[in-house]
Symmetry: C2
Subunit: 242 residues, 2 copies
DNA sequence: CCGCTTCGTGAACGGCATTCACTGTGTGAA
DNA sequence: TTCACACAGTGAATGCCGTTCACGAAGCGG
């Protein structure tokens, strides 16, 4: 009987969890530092003081390891967006969306390796077997944040709710429709398919700026990339009608 | 005296050019097929029937080879845009820009490896020494195409030319301003800094859609990605005021 | 014809991911 | 307490990879 809490957790299990975390966080750090291409399973093993082959006791392959990192990266990105949304709760919708999308850019600039991993990599590095790696659900959770802000704005009458014009048979996939439903549950306000599509467009436009900025392509054109982001974001939010 | 044309071109020089082209085109094909990450110098050597070390008689390193491919990829992309612009010469500006940006998406979808190489890769693979690899000038040439279409529209009075409001000290870099000047020379019509920035925003928004689409992220949301692209593009062109 | 440049080879080095037979050791049951 | 076993970790081996280097075999200009 003795300890009631962690009776089932043996000494070895605890140690395993420790080294597993060590491996994963080392992998994330190296990914941030050296990028997707510079990533090396052996380097991770070196850093945690293990033989390369020992890593395979924890992850089936390099792919699985990277996928695990991708998973936490998705969560961290979503957290960053959600924090921005929470910090601005009660403010005008436009300002909140500005904050959320600015957080998106900030996260990308401070986590270039993870951004590359999630958004700019062919799936050869991901698509493992155990932890849903580039599972659409992760992306949905991210997208859900700005959508909830929009729903909140609709609920407070700030944002005009388009009269749900019939946009052909159906433009959103079933999983995306599920997101729409969950947003409605969480915020108590429906968001039509139309605004959902508009929000996808907005997110896409913001993503484009961030992606090009991150890889240095905007530096060829723009002197002050931060200021021009504000400008770009403003135009995007205008289009969104918020 | 004999042949006046290729007197200075020896038999060997010609053969060299042939194998060089063979290497480069093989590299481009493999890049398209296997992506940036799956690219292998040894595989290229295998395909052209050479020893890996023999490649170094033609390119200083794998980096140099990839950079050369990137250069031609830039040119091909620019050609694709320019063709779209030329084919629609005389039509309405909006339709022409639609054609140009649709060509951008089409090129990306048919050349995923090259797109990744140009826009979604950290410069570790590029930045060679000989042929300006990810030189901003290449990007400028690409960007110049839609800008010329816009200038043409301004010249024909279709597009309202904003009254050149002072947008702070200067938003465009000097090379970008040079593009603006060249556009003015080629089309005979000035394009203010303001429209140039708006066009950057438009291009950025389109790029975001293409990038996310290419990596399968939009499939999680949108049923008909082509139709939604038209929709997105329409909104972008509305913002542009064209 | 000769010397020189150039193309191509094959071996080698170090790094990579991955597999496998192996050793010790913590663990749970007898 | 003892025993068998599951399991973390090792180290060697395999087959990729990019890159270098010494060498042979041609084509080339004088």
């Amino acid at each position: 009987m003795g300890e009631s809490e962690d009776r089932a957790i043996s000494r070895r299990d605890r140690q395993r969890q420790v080294t597993l975390d060590e491996i994963t966080s080392s992998a994330q750090r190296q990914l941030t530092e050296h990028g997707v291409r510079g990533f090396s399973l052996r380097a991770v093993a070196r850093e945690v003081g293990l033989t390369p082959s020992a890593i395979y006791r924890y992850y089936d392959s390099q792919t699985a390891l990277v996928s695990a990192v991708a998973l936490t990266a998705y969560e961290q990105a979503t957290d960053a967006l959600r924090t921005a949304a929470d910090l601005t709760a009660g403010q005008h919708t436009r300002g909140r969306l500005e904050a959320v999308f600015t957080a998106y850019r900030a996260w990308a600039l401070t986590h270039p390796g993870e951004f590359e991993l999630l958004f700019a990599t062919d799936q050869s590095l991901l698509r493992a077997d155990e932890p849903a790696p580039s599972d659409p659900a992760n992306l949905h959770r991210l997208y859900q944040v700005p959508l909830e802000v929009l729903a909140d704005g609709i609920g407070r009458g700030e944002v005009a709710c388009a009269p749900e014009a019939a946009t052909g048979p159906q433009a959103l996939t079933r999983p995306a429709a599920a997101v729409r439903r969950e947003v409605a549950e969480r915020t108590g306000h429906e968001v039509g398919e139309e605004p959902c599509l508009a929000m996808v467009s907005a997110w896409v436009s913001v993503h484009g700026y961030v992606a090009l900025d991150l890889y240095g392509h905007l530096g060829a054109f723009l002197v002050d990339r931060k200021a021009c982001f504000r400008r770009h974001l403003g135009a995007v939010l205008d289009t969104l009608g918020v």
